[in-house]
């Protein structure tokens, strides 16, 4: 593998007519990082990925890979490779020939390219299926072939467009672990677009949360989860309550709320509207007098010590150190 290189986006923008999909974003991704571009649909994450890949022309700004400005280069000359959302395997070619495709385009002879493709199929544990057509493979197998196909050009950066969205939940978690293992072993940068915060938190070294064409917050999953910068981040990343306090909004993690019966404690009063047993914790939903919804995740033991039922009036309290002021 070539030396992995850092990627830098400088004031990158994408406009479609009057609408701005990506609005002057700046981002630096160190070599060998697993980066997740996270956000709701239409936030500009896919456009950003496609601009890095070279499948979409940047309206403004630069894409710098290593010490080369690749903004105007075609995809194959950037040192990137893309794995498509629906895998986009060539239906008329076997798994082996799909993987060998890029080498065939470079004029590599049949024996060499098939040998190399065989090695990559082995990397993704697909050797027994080398002779099959894509329609004869399951979704997870197709994905492995697509992964091998993207890796055959020895890219410095692998771009993955919602790679797990077509898989069932069980397979998704399995493939997720495999992507992470592969990235660790290869030591190259993966940029993975997803709208699932759970997926991003499980995989990423660097989470880039986007909204409305801008980067809302970036950092390690822990930083983003524990110090959400805005109410949008707190809501999108989940597990947080956004509470309007006198000086502004604050975020408190659902598992840091405590519930006290009666009306004496300082806190927010509310009525229990829902109690769900979730195994490792109990989720209690409150409706405050202001009509806001609060969610408390109580440990099973804590819940059993002071159980509540639907209709109870309770006070939600939290330690001041757990309250996090939002911008």
């Amino acid at each position: 593998m070539p030396n992995p290189a850092a990627l830098e986006l400088v004031a990158l923008s994408k406009r479609y007519g009057a609408t701005t999909a990506v609005d002057t974003i700046n981002l630096r991704i160190a070599a060998g990082t697993y980066c997740c571009l996270l956000g709701p649909s239409g936030c500009g994450k896919s456009s950003t990925l496609r601009m890095i890949a070279g499948h979409e022309a940047a309206s403004d700004g630069d894409i710098i890979l290593g010490n080369q400005n690749v903004t105007d280069l075609p995809p194959a000359r950037r040192g990137t490779a893309m794995m498509f959302q629906s895998y986009a395997l060539f239906p008329h070619l076997t798994a082996l020939d799909n993987v060998a495709f890029a080498l065939k385009m470079r004029g590599v002879d049949k024996i060499t390219r098939r040998g190399k493709a065989g090695e990559l199929l082995e990397l993704v544990a697909m050797t027994p299926y080398a002779g099959r057509l894509p329609t004869q493979l399951s979704g997870g197998q197709q994905q492995r072939v697509a992964l091998a196909r993207a890796l055959i050009t020895e890219p410095q950066i692998l771009l993955l467009d919602e790679p797990l969205s077509a898989l069932d939940p069980f397979l998704r978690i399995k493939m997720r672990a495999e992507l992470k293992r592969l990235q660790r072993e290869l030591g190259i940068t993966f940029i993975h677009v997803t709208h699932g915060q759970e997926e991003a938190m499980a995989l990423a070294d660097l989470v880039v949360l986007m909204n409305g064409g801008r980067i809302e917050q970036m950092g390690s999953p822990r930083e983003v989860f524990n110090r959400p910068r805005t109410a949008f981040v707190a809501r999108f990343i989940g597990g947080h309550n956004v509470i309007e306090a006198g000086s502004g909004a604050i975020a408190v993690r659902a598992d840091k709320l405590a519930l006290c019966p009666g009306q004496t404690e300082p806190g927010i009063a509310g009525t229990v509207t829902d109690v769900e047993y979730q195994g490792t914790f109990v989720q209690v939903v409150l409706k405050t007098e202001a009509g806001e919804e609060l969610i408390a995740h109580l440990g099973e033991a804590a819940f059993d010590a002071a159980p509540v039922t639907v209709g109870d009036s309770v006070i939600a309290t939290w330690d001041d150190t757990q309250a996090h002021v939002l911008e």
Partner: protein, 300 residues
């Protein structure tokens, strides 16, 4: 109990399936399979100058190949005629394939909006608003001795004498056949093309394929079913055509279809039937060779 109910259920659904396929199957049987069977039977009957004689005879065939052995290594009439027809067929097939593929590619990949694809496809059907014969006759004022093309070429001084190979020649026959049948190539190829997932083309581009490489390695292989279906249309029509060859060739050019027509005009039905069977056999061989290249049943 449950198994019995399920069996009854599946028996019922297969009965319904037969009922759905039945009407067309009956039409095919009555108007295609049976007449074809009669043609094969009649081709083995005997005949004299004015009537057919229902007794087993190979005369229809032996008359058709009359003198073929004697004239070797030269070619007898039927062999020359078939060679001529095959030549037309090959040229027209190649031309309609190239033109049809190009038009289909333009419609499928260059025209981005669905509305324009529909509008342009409808424009392609305009020639079909008139009959075959009118479309052929329309060439005469264009290609004739004093037609537009000759007048124009003389006016600009490119030629002194009118070109007489423009009309009633092999050139005009091939031109008319290409004009008539290109659309039969466009439709199935277009149909294959619009079913190609656009992300495949992007994936090819991502893998470093140039435009031509994408065409040869992705688009053409995925269009194979359309190409074969279009080819079957064009080849079967051109192999059996006698009207276009007659009108555009000024009744001077022989074709496989023309032999059958001549025999029919002479009321030699068994001989006409024998030639029909020969033509069917030749066409069938070409198509069998084509389908060897692509398993259509698998691709559809």
């Amino acid at each position: 109990m449950k198994a019995a109910a399920m069996q009854e259920n599946s028996a019922r659904s297969s009965f319904i399936a037969w009922l759905q396929a039945g009407p067309l199957a009956l039409v095919f049987l009555a108007f295609f399979v049976l007449p074809l069977l009669f043609v094969v039977i009649v081709s083995f009957w005997d005949y004299n100058d004015y009537q057919m004689l229902p007794m087993l005879s190979g005369r229809g065939y032996t008359d058709s190949f009359e003198g073929c052995l004697a004239e070797l290594p030269g070619l007898c009439t039927i062999a020359k005629t078939y060679l001529q027809t095959l030549k037309f067929c090959a040229i027209v097939w190649a031309a309609t394939l190239v033109i049809g593929f190009t038009v289909a590619y333009f419609l499928a990949f260059e025209v981005k909006s669905k509305e324009w694809q529909i509008i342009l496809s409808l424009i392609c059907t305009i020639p079909f608003w008139t009959s075959n014969v009118i479309r052929m006759i329309a060439w005469i004022p264009l290609l004739g001795r004093n037609g537009l093309v000759n007048s124009f070429l003389q006016a600009i001084g490119a030629i002194n004498e009118p070109l007489d190979w423009l009309l009633y020649s092999q050139f005009s026959v091939i031109l008319a056949l290409i004009h008539l049948f290109t659309f039969f190539m466009v439709v199935p190829i277009f149909n294959s093309m619009i079913r190609i997932d656009r992300s495949l083309i992007e994936a090819a581009y991502d893998a470093g394929a140039s435009g031509w490489q994408t065409l040869w390695n992705v688009i053409v292989p995925l269009c194979k079913p359309g190409i074969v279906i279009g080819s079957i249309f064009v080849i079967t029509i051109v192999m059996g055509d006698f009207v276009t060859v007659g009108v555009m060739g000024g009744q001077q050019i022989a074709s496989a279809g023309k032999i059958i027509q001549t025999r029919l005009d002479a009321l030699q039905f068994p001989a006409a039937a024998a030639n029909a069977v020969i033509l069917l056999g030749v066409t069938f061989l070409i198509i069998a060779a084509l389908t060897k290249l692509v398993d259509i049943r698998k691709e559809l």
